[in-house]
C-alpha cells in the first residue's frame, strides 16, 4: 500500500477517498480538511478567540492540536463529570496535552463546583446519563464562552458523530433536531457561536491522527455510554460503509445540501420563544432552564464565582513529545 501523494509506504487507507497515505501526508490531509470545513462554513474568522470543548478523547485533543498548529488563539475547557476513574484518566489526558503544547486549559468540576456528578445526577433527575451529560456540557460550555469573552466554541464532533445523530433523528423524524443539525450554530439569543471543524473527517482518522502525533488520549469508552443508541447507530453505519465506502459522507453532506433547510423554520420558531432563565439567566424556552432543573433535582448548587478559573499550566518551550505536523506554522 503506497501513499497517494509520495508513493512511500502508507500507514492508513481511507476508502471513501479511495486513497492511502503515509504519516506525513495523512497529517496534512487532516489539517487541510479542517481548513476546508472552517472556510466552507465560515466557522472561525481571523483574530477570534476560540474555546475548545475538551473531553480528553481523541477528537477534542486532535482539533485543539490542529487549531493550535493553524495559529488560532485557542484555549481549552475541560469539564469534570465525576465519572470515577474514567473522569480521572480523561482529565489527566487533557492536562498533559495542555502542558505539552503550552496551551491554556480551563476547568469546571461538576462535583466540586455544582455539587453533583453525572451518574447520581442522572439518576436523581430521571434522565439517561448521556442526556444529563450533554445537557450539562452544553450549558457550561456556553456559559464559559460568554463569561470568558470567547467568540466561538469548537467541539470535536466528526463525520461519524454527525452521520449517527442524523441517522437517529431521521429514524424518528425528529424535525426540530434536524433543523438544528448544522456544522455552525450562529451566536444569538445569549448563545455563543458553536462550530464543528472535524465534520469532514471520520472517527478512524481522528484516532489515527492522535496515534501519529503521539497524543495520549482516553481510549476506553465512557462507562455511562456503553450500549447507548448512538453507538449502535455508528456500528450500523459502519456496516454499510464497509461495503459502500463514502456512504456516511454522502448521507451527511447530502442532508446539508438538499434537506437541512426544510427543517430550519421549526428550529428557528423555538429560538423565537427564548427568555432568560429566572435562576441563572441563560436563554431558555421555560421559566427555569433545563440545566437549573437538573441541578436542583440532583441536589446540587450553583458556584459562588462566575467564570471558571484558569488552571495554571506549566509552560514548555516547545512540544517535546509531539510529532510536527507537515506544513504547520511554527
Amino acid at each position: 500500500m503506497k501513499c497517494r501523494v509520495c508513493r512511500e509506504p502508507a500507514i492508513i487507507d481511507i476508502r471513501r477517498h479511495n486513497a492511502n497515505f503515509c504519516a506525513d501526508h495523512f497529517l496534512k490531509l487532516c489539517r487541510d480538511q479542517t481548513v476546508k470545513a472552517i472556510e466552507q462554513f465560515d466557522m472561525i474568522r481571523s483574530g477570534e478567540r476560540v474555546l475548545v470543548a475538551v473531553s480528553g478523547g481523541k477528537d477534542s485533543l486532535a482539533i485543539w492540536d490542529i487549531l493550535l498548529d493553524l495559529g488560532y488563539d485557542a484555549d481549552g475547557l475541560y469539564l469534570g463529570l465525576g465519572i470515577g476513574d474514567y473522569s480521572d484518566a480523561s482529565g489527566d489526558c487533557a492536562r498533559a496535552f495542555a502542558t505539552a503544547r503550552g496551551a491554556t486549559l480551563l476547568e469546571v468540576d461538576l462535583p466540586a463546583d455544582y455539587g453533583y456528578d453525572i451518574p447520581n445526577g442522572a439518576r436523581a433527575a430521571k434522565r439517561v446519563p448521556c442526556s444529563a451529560c450533554g445537557l450539562s456540557k452544553r450549558h457550561l460550555f456556553d456559559k464559559a464562552a460568554i463569561d470568558g469573552g470567547y467568540d466561538v466554541v469548537v467541539t470535536g464532533h466528526n463525520l461519524d458523530d454527525e452521520a449517527a445523530v442524523l441517522f437517529g433523528n431521521v429514524l424518528r423524524w425528529q424535525t426540530d433536531y434536524l433543523g438544528r443539525q448544522l456544522p455552525v450554530l450562529p451566536a444569538r439569543h445569549g448563545f455563543p457561536r458553536k462550530v464543528k471543524p472535524l465534520v469532514r473527517l471520520g472517527e478512524r482518522e481522528m484516532a489515527a491522527y492522535c496515534v501519529v502525533r503521539g497524543i495520549d488520549y482516553i481510549v476506553d469508552e465512557c462507562p455511562m455510554a456503553a450500549g447507548n443508541k448512538h453507538l449502535g447507530y455508528k456500528e450500523s453505519l459502519n456496516a454499510v460503509e464497509a461495503t459502500s465506502p463514502g456512504t456516511k459522507h454522502d448521507f451527511y453532506f447530502g442532508f446539508l445540501a438538499r434537506a437541512s433547510e426544510h427543517f430550519r423554520p421549526e428550529a428557528e420558531g423555538e429560538q423565537a420563544d427564548l427568555q432568560p432563565c429566572t435562576s441563572c439567566g441563560a436563554p431558555t424556552t421555560a421559566e427555569v432552564c433545563a440545566f437549573c432543573r437538573l441541578v436542583e433535582r440532583a441536589g446540587g448548587h450553583h458556584p459562588d464565582h462566575g467564570s471558571p478559573e484558569p488552571v495554571p499550566v506549566e509552560l514548555q518551550p516547545r512540544k517535546p513529545t509531539l510529532v510536527p505536523t507537515p506544513g504547520a506554522s511554527a
Binding site: I12, A225, H230
Partner: protein, 69 residues
C-alpha cells in the same frame, strides 16, 4: 506454533491468533469491521496489507466513541 498476541478493548482482554498474517486477515478472523478499529504495533499504525509476525504484540484499538452530547 507462535501466535500474534492481540490486545482488545471495551472490555480489555487478550487473545492469541496463530501464525503470521496480514492485518486484514487478522481482522477477518476476529470478525472485526476495519472501519471501527486501528491496528497498532509498537506505537505505530499497521496498514491493512501490513504483515504481522507470529511473535508480534498488537493492539486492536476501537475508534468508535461517544455519547450523544
Amino acid at each position: 506454533m507462535d501466535a500474534v498476541k492481540v490486545l482488545l478493548r471495551n472490555p480489555r482482554r487478550e487473545v492469541e491468533v496463530q501464525g503470521a498474517m496480514q492485518v486484514s486477515t487478522l481482522l477477518g478472523r476476529l470478525d472485526i469491521n476495519r472501519e471501527s478499529v486501528l491496528v497498532i504495533r509498537d506505537g505505530t499504525i499497521v496498514a491493512g496489507d501490513g504483515w504481522l509476525n507470529a511473535d508480534d504484540d498488537v493492539e486492536i484499538r476501537p475508534v468508535i466513541s461517544g455519547g450523544m452530547a
